[in-house]
Symmetry: C2
Subunit: 465 residues, 2 copies
């Protein structure tokens, strides 16, 4: 019987070329100028699922971008794997920091990727990782090695908060029924240290708007005599952290899950090279909440970051103006037990309380999601672990991740099954950044590993019965 590795070797170039075509379409869900491209991408995914061997594929309309649903049911009595992924991508700006255009994929060798990596927006997040599942299905179908049923649910709004999929899931519980949900939209430590993400942070994303005088003013005539919304905004944002980089929002930490010293000691065993971390980012120091390590700060601790700020004159040269308005986009990463809607309310109340007289403040919630932690004693996790062990030669390290897939906890709740986060990216993939890329070694390794998950999952489920 042919192995996935052999099949990949025979179809290497085609697997790469298909991904390149998918990456060429600028499916930027955040920017309405690209709406036709987003829709076109859904159609390419639909076609790919049919060609890979799905029996039934459909484009499901929502109030926003469509969800591509596909399935191959070989026997209703067998277990079912539901694959979730997304075909939309982050906006590529700042464009001038890309070494090659974000939607003209190129393959380049780097120190980290001696076999080459594909550089394009979405290469890793999530087109490349989502497409591994399509190609793994192709292998299993063509080689008669699909051991159970499979369903695909690929959405187009993950990068804008998965606004419509909740309704879709609620309306299609029977159709989406499954025994495990498989997602590749996260990373691993390294080629040498495979890992499986066992936790995701929650998210609350807000935009704030400050209004001072009703029009832009001359800074000579009014400077120093009226509240300048930009100066005030900097004061208000600065006040959101104290001198130890704790977040000052009243009630923010009340429900935060605190890990035991044993759990923290276990976490500290994961390999981490501070010098390499700093050197790859070109920074002379790390920075963060007092009392926690870097790996803790970006996984088990909640954070608050400004993602964008603007106001006043930002063009060439100088303009002596006091702006009428100033804006910021602010997001908070949350940990288990923090409810994102409650945190959004706490932020709003606190932020409004920071505004002095002379300015008006408006907080506009964007979107959010709950944190998620998956247990490692489930069949799903054990099957995934064994699959990595087979192809990497090492038991993967379970690791809490810092990112968010806001929709994940909802899947568990609505569909009553566990989520397995089989990510093949690296932190250095520059997702959401210029020069996003995905190592070819990891792309092919993902396609190789996924069929073993199906194999072990089906076997373990059969034993269970």
């Amino acid at each position: 019987m042919q192995s996935s590795k052999e099949y990949i070797n025979q179809h290497k170039d085609r697997f790469l070329n298909e991904l390149i075509e998918l990456l060429k379409i600028p499916s930027i869900s955040a920017d309405s100028a690209f709406s036709q491209d987003v829709i076109n991408t859904a159609e390419v995914v639909e076609k790919a699922l049919i060609e890979a061997g799905c029996d039934h594929v459909e484009i499901c309309e929502t109030d926003g971008y469509p969800i591509v649903y596909g399935e191959k049911i070989i026997d209703p009595k067998l277990p079912t794997v539901l694959v979730y992924g997304h075909y939309d991508v982050q906006p590529p700006d700042p464009l001038d920091l890309w070494d090659s255009p974000p939607f003209e994929p190129v393959i380049k060798k780097t120190d980290e990727h001696p076999d080459g990596a594909i550089f394009a927006r979405g290469a890793s997040d999530d087109k490349g990782q989502m497409y591994m599942h399509v190609k793994a299905l192709e292998f299993m179908v063509k080689n008669d090695q699909l051991p159970c049923n499979v369903k695909f649910m690929i959405e187009g709004e993950e990068e804008v908060g998965s606004v419509n999929i909740a309704q879709y899931v609620a309306n299609n519980k029977e159709k989406l029924k499954n025994d495990v949900i498989l997602i590749s939209d996260t990373g691993m430590i390294s080629k040498e240290y495979p890992s499986i993400t066992t936790g995701l942070r929650g998210l609350s994303y807000v935009e704030v708007e400050l209004t001072g005088p009703n029009r832009d003013l001359h800074s000579g005539l009014y400077g120093g005599a009226v509240a300048n919304p930009i100066n005030i905004l900097t004061k208000m944002i600065a006040a959101l952290h104290d001198e130890n980089n704790h977040i000052t929002i009243t009630g923010f930490y009340d429900k935060v899950e605190e890990l035991s010293s044993e759990e923290r000691a276990e976490m500290a065993k994961a390999p981490f090279d501070l010098d390499a971390y700093q050197s790859i980012l070109d920074i002379d120091s790390i920075y963060g909440e007092k009392g926690y390590t870097t790996n803790e700060r970006n996984s088990i601790r909640p954070t608050l970051d400004v993602n964008g700020i603007w106001g006043g004159y930002i063009g060439e040269g100088a303009k002596t103006v006091i702006a009428s308005k100033a804006y910021a986009k602010i997001s908070m990463r949350l940990v288990p037990n923090q409810d994102w809607e409650e945190i959004t309310d706490l932020f709003t109340t606190h932020f409004e309380s920071l505004a002095p007289k002379g300015v008006q403040v408006k907080v506009i919630p964007h979107h959010g999601g709950q944190a998620y932690v998956t247990p490692i004693d489930t069949i799903g996790y054990q099957a995934a672990s064994k699959a990595y062990e087979t192809t990497f030669g090492k038991v993967p390290i379970p690791q809490r991740g810092g990112g968010s897939i806001p929709i994940v906890p909802l899947f568990e709740k609505e569909l009553d099954s566990k989520i397995i986060l089989m990510g093949f990216g690296l932190d250095s993939n520059a997702i959401h950044s210029p020069n996003e890329h995905f190592g070819l070694w990891f792309y092919y390794k993902g396609i190789e590993t996924i069929p073993y998950f199906y194999k072990y999952f089906a076997e373990m489920m059969a034993q269970e019965l």
Copy 2:
């Protein structure tokens, strides 16, 4: 003999139409996309000076935009007035806040301007006010009432820091020789309370750039673990003022001229309506340095304002990114005895000291200028005061202004004469803001008043001899 008032009444429409044509040209010196328009404007000014009666007019090239020089020498033994003004304008953005396009002048009646005001970028600052002098010359020449010599020096770089005029002045001291310098680029309290500006604030304008990681990062993977340049920038800017809104830069106040309580009591006599001030700006409170009144805050006290800030994702929707860089444009208004170059150095040292490890900070000085105070016991001031008294029926109030004309102190030093700031604008003219305008009543009143200045100045100078 015909009065200036009678002459204006005969030529009202033409005077207005000529200004409208001048305002149609977008002479934005800060934006190189408009360089041809700036040059075209110089040529329109050249033509206007010839038509108004100058004997000799020339366009003097500099390393930047040209200076238009014009003169009418009626008798070398008579005194000479040098008129300074500028033909460049501020950038018009934010464009969406204009009620009519900035370079398509319209006349509208408002509560404050029942006779109508002309709405356009540069209407008040400074095309409208500069053009009053051209039309006043026309009146004096056509009616044989020019009592002394006159020279014009109209530059095109005032809004970008008058970068080349210093060299021009230094190279042309003999040509520019004069007995008084007359400038209309400031305002007055109101129609009912004419005032003459006796002081200008100095200026230091800088841009700051913060760099954290060498690329934009995913806020989930790195949030809370590396210094976010936007968060740090807000902290650093917030730290530039203390809780009393004093500026915290070390040494900033060391040389500030402190006014005596008598002087402050004298200032406090100027009419000021706090309710009207707040209501016209739509603010519920004023804001500023503790221990000083609004009129003091915007005239005799130095200030620090952010004029623009930007970084990260500022487009539609949400992007969960930690920006590599964050920027701000910051200006400080200075008072007598503060040296702008020294203040720029103090700012730089202080701002750099505020940066924590994990970010790099760069301070780029833009431009600056010294503060200026003019005495009121000079012939120039007395002639101006008498001119206002003649046309307004009231002795004007001497008043320190909050704005800056950075080149003014240099004129006094290089040309050894006093500057008289005969401004006819109002604070509410929205200079540097959307919907800049200039009341027609003030435009015509300026043209009416200026010839009286020449008359009284020539008479007083003759008496002096």
